[in-house]
């Protein structure tokens, strides 16, 4: 038992979880006042984006189905949750669960037309979802539920009295624990899913659809399942988003955000849980990262770099894709292999070469 815990990877996970548990109270520790309530807000957002990106990585990274419309499922989940909370007064937990399941079902069904499409055609078809969604949400036939252009306001979360009294927990901290618990559970689910029959099937149909079919994998069913699970994650993330933001409008999630989601999982690392965590970190702190870089560019203020924040962000994206083509998690893997050195060094070089060859073939198809 002790030995198992001392395994570095497991130890790391345990420590990380412990950090997540104490995080909202860390600001009281002397020397840590920078962990303001805004950081708590960002940590909550991180948990939400982690769920959303995990779903997209299951679909695009593991199953190889590109989706530019993931934000549409986030929005749908958020609307389901907001309507459930508002109209039926359902408790938050049930509203989030219900929204996730409904969005998952919707995604599963949208997987049907997606079966026939691939590559750029699938990309544009999924992009269509987020393009048309605002028009649908604003349509007069359903605006009594969606609130049309005005959107929906839901009430702010209430901390259970016992926690508020005993732990002096405020509503931000309560939100943090709700979202982070969901994120940890759903990450663990994704981790075990990728190591299950489903995960293997997803990877098989990504690498060779015909090959997967020959192995007896029901390609249609697994593709639809991939869409379903990914939408379930998106829906849960959207539901938690509206719980935190307490407001939702037809343009809360736009096309740019939808594209950003895909960009983030590529930068974090496709088909990797660690990569998705990095992706969620970058998505949460993208403004802070850009500001940091902008403030540290020499002579920046003299050439008027300030309005060029978007450009700086774009340059960072390009640089990161060029220098870490397999994402941050891919780079970590590489470093690990480099450290082994010695008798395995040759072996890894060979496997590196092989994978490069494979990539070259894949990109020339």
């Amino acid at each position: 038992m002790v030995r198992t815990i001392l395994r570095p990877k497991l130890l790391f996970v345990v420590l990380a979880l412990a950090l997540l548990v104490v995080f909202p109270y860390l600001y009281r520790v002397p020397g840590m006042p920078f962990l303001s309530s805004f950081r708590n807000f960002q940590a909550t957002r991180f948990a939400i984006w982690l769920i959303v990106l995990m779903g997209l990585n299951l679909l695009t990274g593991y199953s190889g189905q590109i989706s530019l419309g993931h934000a549409a499922f986030v929005a749908v989940g958020a609307y389901f949750a907001a309507i459930l909370m508002k109209e039926s007064g359902a408790p938050v937990f049930l509203a989030v669960l219900g929204a996730a399941l409904l969005t998952g079902l919707l995604g599963f069904l949208i997987g049907v037309p997606a079966l026939r499409l691939s590559g750029p055609y699938l990309a544009i078809a999924t992009l269509a979802l987020i393009i048309v969604l605002p028009q649908i949400l604003k349509h007069p036939s359903i605006d009594q539920w969606t609130g049309g252009v005005n959107g929906i306001r839901v009430s702010f979360p209430q901390v259970p009295a016992s926690l508020a009294n005993n732990l002096k927990m405020n509503s931000d901290q309560w939100l943090y624990y709700n979202c982070m618990a969901a994120a940890v559970i759903m990450t663990a689910m994704a981790w075990s899913l990728t190591r299950s029959r489903f995960g293997r099937a997803f990877v098989a149909l990504r690498d060779s659809e015909i090959g997967a079919e020959q192995m007896g994998i029901n390609v249609s069913l697994y593709k639809m399942t991939a869409f379903g699970i990914s939408s379930l994650y998106a829906g849960a993330g959207g539901a938690l988003y509206v719980y935190q933001a307490a407001y939702l409008g037809p343009t809360s999630f736009d096309i740019i955000f939808s594209l950003t989601l895909l960009v983030m999982i590529v930068i974090g690392g496709l088909a990797s849980i660690t990569g998705t965590i990095f992706a969620a970190l970058i998505l949460t702190f993208r403004v802070d990262i850009t500001n940091f870089v902008v403030n540290h560019i020499p002579y920046g203020s003299r050439v008027g770099i300030d309005p060029l924040r978007g450009a700086v962000f774009g340059v960072l994206l390009i640089i990161s894709v060029i220098f870490t083509p397999r994402g941050i998690s891919g780079n970590i893997e590489k470093l690990k292999h480099a450290n082994i050195g010695g008798k395995f060094a040759g072996l890894h070089k060979r496997s590196d070469r092989l994978s490069q060859q494979k990539d070259a073939e894949a990109s020339s198809d």
């Binding site: 055609y121 544009i124 008027g304 978007g310 450009a311 390009i318 060029i322 990109s363 020339s364």
Partner: protein, 294 residues
């Protein structure tokens, strides 16, 4: 009936805007196999370059041709500096780089030329009273855009099918290794592909500027429909880009006119039609199915 014809003609005018950007997308897809998200922003940027030149000497055609040369150089340079390093690698990486380029160009244009729309001159051929086609009236600029779209389509068709360079570029896009083996300088071909598509984009931008008003966000409403048009027609078919663009323009206009409350649902109808067509023909109307050897 008169209303129908007028709406049809308006639809064709809108559609030709989509078609002409779609042509640039088809061009780059055929020559490099990449879907370029920055296409619209590149066109916008080059139009601003043309505007700046026109502003300093007020000669439209001089500005037009200098902008074309700059566009070509810019396209080739883009390919060589930021696209080539990610070519050998996961397939999504070039797409992400074009998204990055999108942000860079939009932000840079906003910084250099500011947000408010600029006046852009119409070439004198397109000036004058709207043309009458039976009961419908179409502005000369729209007719010009339509004709240019057809001309560019024919040029692309002949270029890819009847010139050696076009053949070499198709070979490069299809199979880089085989292309290199038969002596094609594949790197140069890819750079040429980017240069040509940026030039087509620049022509499109300059033609559209008087209609859409020149501003850093001028392509926002067009680019997505151009994508849809290219996909609807088939990403490897230049005729498809025209047919796709015109279809979307007409469907959008008709839905806006004839469905009650139509303007609040026209985009949805257009995309429902696109998806319906794609379900029957998954590679677009004129696209060819890629047969893979296992």
């Amino acid at each position: 009936m008169d209303q129908f014809i007028q709406q049809f003609a308006t639809g064709l005018s809108t559609g030709s805007l989509y078609a002409i950007i779609a042509l640039a997308l088809v061009l780059i897809y055929r020559s490099t196999g990449i879907v370029n998200f920055a296409q619209g922003e590149m066109a916008m940027f080059m139009t601003f370059v043309a505007w700046s030149i026109w502003n300093s000497n007020s000669n439209f055609w001089l500005a037009f041709f200098i902008a074309l040369v700059i566009a070509g150089a810019f396209g080739a340079l883009t390919e060589m500096t930021i696209i080539r390093p990610v070519e050998i690698g996961p397939v999504l990486n070039p797409v992400i780089v074009t998204v990055g380029l999108f942000t860079v160009l939009q932000s840079a244009a906003l910084r250099v030329w500011q947000g408010e729309p600029k006046f852009f001159p119409t070439p004198s051929v397109f000036k004058g009273a709207p043309l009458k086609l039976g009961p419908a009236a179409i502005s000369r600029t729209n007719v010009g855009v339509f004709c240019m779209a057809i001309v560019i389509m024919l040029l692309i068709y002949f270029f890819f099918n009847y010139t050696k360079l076009g053949l070499a570029m198709r070979a490069t896009a299809q199979n880089r290794t085989a292309g290199r083996l038969v002596g094609i300088r594949t790197g140069r071909m890819l750079a040429t592909g980017w240069a040509l598509s940026t030039m087509v984009g620049a022509v499109a931008g300059i033609l559209l500027a008087p209609v859409l008003f020149l501003s850093p966000s001028m392509m926002d409403g067009v680019l997505l429909f151009a994508f849809a048009a290219a996909v609807l027609g088939g990403l490897d078919s230049s005729a498809g880009a025209i047919v796709g663009g015109l279809t979307i323009g007409v469907v959008q206009n008709m839905a806006g006119t004839y469905i009650p409350n139509g303007s609040s649902i026209d985009i949805t109808v257009a995309f429902v039609v696109i998806i319906a067509v794609l379900l029957v023909r998954p590679h677009g109307i004129f696209g060819r199915k890629v047969v893979q050897r296992v």
